[in-house]
């Protein structure tokens, strides 16, 4: 056992280089997602509103490398502004595991990173009422990522992150939602099997455009506790079998524990 731990330590040193800066950060943030989306499978009308969102992040950082894990969830009610009766209940979120490595350009107070992430995204639409209608987009794949941080002072810094989906699998419903086979599949094999019945190879060139941009201002109140305000805008445009497109602006505040 001791040998295994020793070997893992050596592997970590090789992977991340000799370093003297190891920092763990756990962040929790919450806020509102100002959402405007249209899913042609569900309706020809755009759905708008504010959803509630929650972010939980764990980041490991050393001199040159960052590993960031994020769990995001959201839910709420959307509707067409002129239609207060037929509402939709989106529920979803994502799991993102990001690796970034510093690109050393020797610019004072600025750090630039490049890398990528594994991303699982889910946005499921349920009817808020007794109607036969569902819609969703599920995506699991790889993104290309970048980060720029500007350290105004030892306590205050800004970071801008951008992630663009590159390759993955996209799952969408049938062309216009509920089919006879949907209920049968759901009964026999469960909801997950139904949700993943129609899979497509997804790339931004042929059918799946997911692009996220996040700007965060972080203030270290103490060496162990920080406070942040962030604004993240997510764009999506997926096409099979019919188009789903729109954006969500997630404005959130939170706290960080650093150790």
């Amino acid at each position: 056992m001791k040998k295994i731990i020793f070997l893992l330590g050596i592997a970590g040193q090789i992977a991340f280089g000799q370093d003297t800066i190891k920092r763990h950060t756990i962040s929790l943030g919450g806020g509102l997602l100002n959402t405007s989306k249209k899913d042609r499978v569900y309706s020809l009308l755009k759905k708008q509103g504010e959803l509630k969102g929650l972010d939980l992040r764990y980041q490991y950082e050393n001199k040159k490398n960052i590993i960031n894990t994020r769990i995001h969830i959201f839910q709420g009610i959307l509707n067409t502004p002129t239609n207060t009766i037929n509402k939709v209940k989106p529920e979803g979120g994502g799991l993102f595991i990001k690796y970034l490595r510093e690109i050393d350009l020797k610019i004072p107070k600025i750090k630039i990173y490049g890398g990528g992430q594994m991303a699982v995204r889910a946005d499921l639409w349920f009817p808020a009422g007794n109607v036969f209608r569902y819609g969703w987009d599920l995506n699991a794949g790889l993104d290309i990522s970048g980060r720029v941080c500007y350290f105004l002072s030892p306590k205050l810094y800004f970071c801008f992150d951008t992630d663009l989906h590159l390759l993955g699998i996209l799952w969408r419903p049938h062309k216009n939602g509920q089919q006879l086979s949907t209920e049968k599949l759901q009964l026999e094999k469960g909801t997950l099997a139904t949700a993943t019945e129609n899979g497509y190879l997804s790339t931004p060139i042929n059918n799946s455009f997911y692009w996220s941009n996040r700007l965060m201002v972080h203030f270290n109140m103490t060496p162990f506790l920080g406070f942040f305000v962030a604004s993240q805008i997510d764009y999506l445009h997926v096409s099979p079998p019919t188009v789903k497109e729109g954006s969500a602006l997630f404005t959130n505040i939170g706290i960080s524990f650093m150790f």
Partner: protein
Amino acid sequence: MKSLKYLFFLLFLLFLECSKEPTESESIISDYKLVFDYLKSDYGYRDELFKDQSLDAIYKKYLPRIEKTPTKIELAKILLTIEHQELQDPHVYFSGTEKPKDLLFDDEIEFYVKPRADLFDPKLEAINIIKKDDFYTYGTVKTNPEIGYLYIRSFNRKTGGDSALGIPKGIDAVENYLKDLKDKGVKKMIVDIRSGAGGSSYVPLWVAKRFANKKAVYMIAEYDTVDGFKEEKWYVEPEGKEGFRKGKIALLTNGNTCSGGEMFVLAMLQRDNLVHMGSETEGCAGNIVDRDLANGWNLRMTNGKTKKADGSPYWKVGLKPEFIVKNTSNEGEDKVIKKAIQELRK
């Protein structure tokens, strides 16, 4: 500098123009067009002719009327005309807490909606009722206790989702009732689906499997995909701890029998030793999906097609019984049950 100010002012005006909210009239006309956008792209029977005219022809026929009088009441009248007099598809209608009918008086609605004359609930004076629950009523015929009776009032109304968890309970009830009837010496059955039972495609199949005595194709479904309609055969076969698979069955339908109820009938018709009587079903083929309009109305329509096992349609024409018997009023005995008893006594 002055010219720049004018330019910005013009741009500001242009921006105002681009972001202007539609007027109520524009919104009403837009909703009329939206109904047809949905029908032309999502309606399973969109390529059929309705009274020898296409959907596009119907759209153009009423467009001048709504453009001339763009009010919500006028839109309600036009859409009800399209629903009841043009398309006449029982699976195409406006549903939800607010719909076109809600804007009209009863006598105005009667102008559009002309119900069939045989839509009466069963009269059960001839039946010794053992139990009545949310979904079924069962018992035996008073004059012939070896003839059992099962009335299907409702299937599990929701499709899929958490309602699927309730389905085994519902099917257990059917099995328990069939077992009870057999224990009481029942040798023949009346299965009565003269009700609006529907809202599910799989629950009717589950119930029919308790009566099936062989595996057979009972329905052909066509699913709408981006590559066109794709066909799939649906099968019924014997299943369940308990069932009624040998004795003769009289299956009763009328114009209330629709949608999932008709799928049940299709499955039951594959069973040997069964006679179908009553009046033809409503012809609610296909599966349904909902679409919303900007004014709060909800359009429900078929998004796929279903046909009989031999490939012939039952859309809008219904399933015709072997023996046509109708109740003509709510008074008196149930003629259909009476005919069923006569047939099962043979």
